[in-house]
Chain length 309, copies 2
Amino acid sequence: MIALVIGGTGFIGSHLLDQLVAEGDLVRVLAPDPERFRAPKENIDYRAGTLMDAAALRSALEGVDVVYHLANSKVPSTSNQDPIADIQENLMATVDLLESMRQAGVGRIVFLSSGGTVYGECGSESVPEDHVLQPSSSYGIVKVAIENYLCMFKRLYGLSYCALRASNPYGPRQGAIGVQGVIATMLYRTFRNEAISIWGDGGVVRDYLYIDDLAKGISTAGRAGLEGTFNIGSGEGHSLVELLDVIREVTGTEPGVEFQPSRKVDIQRIVLDISRIRMQLGWEPKVSLARGVELHWLWMQSAIKGGML
Amino acid sequence: MIALVIGGTGFIGSHLLDQLVAEGDLVRVLAPDPERFRAPKENIDYRAGTLMDAAALRSALEGVDVVYHLANSKVPSTSNQDPIADIQENLMATVDLLESMRQAGVGRIVFLSSGGTVYGECGSESVPEDHVLQPSSSYGIVKVAIENYLCMFKRLYGLSYCALRASNPYGPRQGAIGVQGVIATMLYRTFRNEAISIWGDGGVVRDYLYIDDLAKGISTAGRAGLEGTFNIGSGEGHSLVELLDVIREVTGTEPGVEFQPSRKVDIQRIVLDISRIRMQLGWEPKVSLARGVELHWLWMQSAIKGGML
């Protein structure tokens, strides 16, 4: 199989590349920048460019069997500051991608959607895929629109797709000073003996997924003939206070904590129901939170000591 | 009140203008073309332009209390032929409108969404607003995205909004040879003694709303302080075969019928649950299908005889 990974040099893409190469695919990457934490891999065909670069995209699609679309020019907070750019760079660029795939005869796409932003407020139950969608950021609004266009291109043109609504991934090679990745941020601050900021009472609950499990799920979705939208997460909820406990145990350090007022945009609790992907794709998460945080911590210590972080 | 009606010279806009003027508003219109079936009204301030024309829009927003946004550059079928243009001309232009409203200090918008395209397949029950949204056309996908942006602008910036998911409107001054408006098309063909095409077995059920009821609902929503999304329809379902019966009775003519194969995109049945708008806005439909079709038929006969149709 020839796989094209769009946005393949980011945190998730980097692990997907390893997974696809290990499974024997010929792997091509379209991304604007090289990976941050390691040198390019010899057996991967890197192409510089984004989805907005029509010529680079057309060339990258030649002979491809499946496209993995992980690119996003925004995160939720920056998407709200410039929704027009979000629509142009992510929604329109993705619809252009689907048109280009039709023209190039590329028949399948796996799209990385967002379990954390498409549902909105969910209450105390795990949220299944057919839950009402109330995205509260432009980022989530665009993800929902892309899922809908995937469904439309499937119906009108037979373009096969899988949309994966991922929960919060964490693990090695995740940046630690960005705006996403609470586990990375907590570990980084613990290493530097800096206080960890907690918004509200620390009761905010999220679903954290170890990066290797996510990469394996994405490649499984690429190989499967299944259509549709799937949650992909641990299926378990952990509060910020519980994360602090895990970090204390893994690092052997007592992190300082600064409690801050709640942020208006925070959703109190979101945990994904992963029954559908378990049953239909046969995928399930393998790495516990404690083990995943330990692996993340081991990598982070060496990355900081090596001057990479 | 100063009201700006964007897309105010189309079928629905034309009736909304009458309603707003009757209720004493100062009415301004932003639309690219004049009305098709009547001369401009003296007491309305018409401005030539579309949402894409930033200068015309900025000028039209000056001093406005409420915006009624009825403009759409596409219908469902044409939206699928060019989804990129649909996103640019409708989604991006509307997000730009919301930004322009913020800058101009205009605090309220009524947006005409689409009860017929946002839900997808609904089954036999009337569909309430919190039903899952599965739009099957670009038109419907864009409507859903706009609703989500309205909700986001309300939360982030306090911009007050009402989104009205309208069912199928019909009545005087609706075009009869376009791609929307099955009642208009049936009446027109009956007048000309042409056969009426029915796709499938004629069992397709829709919710038809007389245009005066819709116009009254839109103006009521503009005046109300309520936020959110409301279905607006008759709340009743009628099959194509039932429509034929009504037309036979109203016109005193036996229309010819040509049954055609089902179209792939047709949703079998969609009827709106209008409990929310009844209870929260105090609006309800007044004109029965038989009476509405009669009024539509009277207008159409004179329009055809007058050479307007």
